[in-house]
Subunit: 383 residues, 2 copies
């Protein structure tokens, strides 16, 4: 492990970061210069000044997004500040390009005041075709996303919420096929009520799941509980309808699906044994899951998914975010809707021709993933 | 001309802008993914959280700048707004890469309130190694640059001011050699007291020129005149010491050097005839100069420079800005000082081995320009 960390740092040092900004146009002659700089460049400026929409035609706006963070919840590292989040933002940007052909620029914003952050993003958004929010702590991330969506006419997407929710739903669609259960009847317990947990709950409800129970670090979430922020209060109204108090132990009996977006080792083998027949476990805490896959299996789990690449069924957002923006940019949508999210999850699930316990989701390097997701996004209005 | 404009627009449309953001690191295997994204990417984040300086080592910060505008003074088009300035910003970015190897990202900021603009740039600056301000109207540009320099620990450089001033000084150094005159004795008239005019005056004075007279659209600038903003008031204290009132006509007699950064056709042939022996004329209004080179020549000008590539002696900022940032980034300077500007101008002048009336400045495509400028910047503290 120490060797891995050392190698990672050496690689980052060798390349001096991960991004490069290059020219798509030739710049070898005086004529090139007069075309792409003065005096020629005045022409597209004049056109755009008259009709802002033409920025999509004459500039990189239509295929370029900003990957924006305030560094308040970077990976599992917590609030390490804007600049320290830059390696993740750069990583995200190269994945956008590699998997979706989307140009992405990292922007680290040095404030953790919601309105200041929103204001800054609003002011610098016009040259981008979309905004991918990243590693922003909950519940601030919800307010930031809502305000930006309301104020901007380009897609705004908080990947830690919706990317996770979409890929999770895709995996669940196939997992249910494998165990022969129906979304309307299964009992789902979600450990973690941050950005991912809340977004997963909302998307599953939207998709037709009916019985969901969340827990946060203080225990199960139920309507009327103390210490709930406004987003947890809202979700408490549509989950845990029996208003069960307590902790994981108190609801694990008969649970069909456990979804972990919380912290390592909180799901115990004894709990898995109390779940319903053919339990489905998505233990997505990174890099250490809520239960080790081997332990889950030995306790009787039928389907196990994690965030890790060294076990089957990796639930990785990279299956989603490049295609989401690829599709939204190509179609020039100004918002990412719930329909698009569900359509993407279904498309992702369909890519696995014969779902099985060890194969409920496409692999990261499988061909055609981002195109399938992009088409799913684009086709929502064509349906 | 109509054909030229059409071709320019078609070219911009064909390429959909001029920029592309690519990965410098391999992303072909699971190991690559674990190195450059999760879980590996946590390592450089942890290092930078402890020591912000390490962003230069582990991220693209040290070789990436932002090219920032508010669209208030784009080319000669005026206040066309942030987004309409994007084609110019993209053009600037590709020139930074092509000529200086500097990665540059265009950021169009949607406010023309000085403090709001400064605040937004301050907040998003941390992931960049420098800020190139572009196409911001005077006198706002002076205040914006001053405030950002005071508040940021990375180089901030308004190219319309200093890039123009440096390349202009470089040309003048060689022009004086050609006509055998001394900076201490020549009379200089500058038409235009915006970003470029003010910056040129300041740099020439710093370099040792003594007799400079500026004019703005209301006439000659002298100490005590009405209608002077605070920046013109300041420059009025060190120029036009005889406090001559009036217009160009009233000071052109015996002028050695005319510098135009104003508007087309304001220098007349009859005025050139009244200048001193071997007049030097830098008519840099773009694309139409203050006097047509043919007219200047027939009226007796010895040396004529313009902003145009189709005449000798093109005074083009691209000779300067890529090297300035290349040098400042490589040396990790936090400010661009006057010494660096003068050192760059001298280095640029020295690149012309045998200055002559038709060759006072290197051509845009000559090899070694940005390296020479970068070295001049870097060597300032080594001298």
């Amino acid at each position: 492990m120490r060797d891995f960390k050392k190698k990672v740092l050496e690689a980052h040092k060798k390349y001096k970061g991960k991004l490069e900004v290059i020219s798509k146009v030739p710049l070898n002659t005086k004529q090139d210069m007069s075309f792409y700089y003065t005096p020629g460049v005045a022409e597209p400026c004049i056109k755009i000044a008259k009709n802002q929409d033409l920025a999509y035609q004459y500039t990189s706006k239509g295929h370029t997004i900003a990957v924006v963070t305030d560094g308040s919840a970077v990976l599992g590292l917590g609030n390490i500040g804007a600049l320290a989040g830059l390696p993740v933002m750069e990583g995200k940007c190269v994945l956008f390009k590699k998997f979706g052909g989307v140009d992405a620029v990292p922007i680290c914003i040095n404030t953790q005041n919601v309105d200041e952050f929103v204001d800054c993003v609003k002011k610098m958004a016009s040259s981008f075709g979309g905004i991918n929010l990243e590693d922003i702590s909950a519940p601030r991330c919800f307010e930031i996303e809502e305000k930006l969506i309301r104020n901007l006419d380009i897609p705004v997407f908080h990947d830690d919420q919706h990317g996770t929710a979409i890929v999770c739903l895709a995996g669940l669609i196939n997992a249910l096929k494998v165990v022969g259960k129906n979304k309307k009847n299964v009992k789902v317990v979600i450990s973690g009520a941050g950005a991912a947990g809340i977004a997963i709950s909302k998307l599953l409800l939207k998709y037709g799941f009916r019985n969901i129970i969340l827990q946060d670090s203080r225990g199960l979430i139920y309507e009327g509980r103390g210490n709930l922020n406004e987003y947890k209060k809202k979700i408490a109204k549509v989950t845990n309808r029996k208003k069960i108090h307590g902790h994981l132990e108190d609801v694990i009996e008969g649970t069909d699906i456990f979804i972990g977006v919380s912290k390592p080792n909180i799901l115990k083998k004894r709990m898995v044994k109390r779940m319903s027949k053919n339990p489905i476990i998505f233990a997505m805490s990174n890099p250490d899951p809520e239960i080790h896959p081997k332990d889950a299996k030995s306790a009787g789990a039928k389907i196990i998914a994690t965030g890790r690449s060294d076990y089957p069924n990796q639930i990785n957002n990279v299956l989603v975010f490049p295609g989401i923006f690829k599709g939204a940019l190509e179609a020039r949508f100004d918002h990412i809707t719930d329909k698009m999210k569900i359509s993407s999850a279904e498309a992702l699930a369909r890519l696995v021709k014969k779902p099985s316990a060890n194969k409920i989701i496409p692999g990261v390097f499988e061909k055609g993933v981002s195109v399938a997701v992009a088409n799913a996004v684009k086709n929502v209005f064509a349906q």
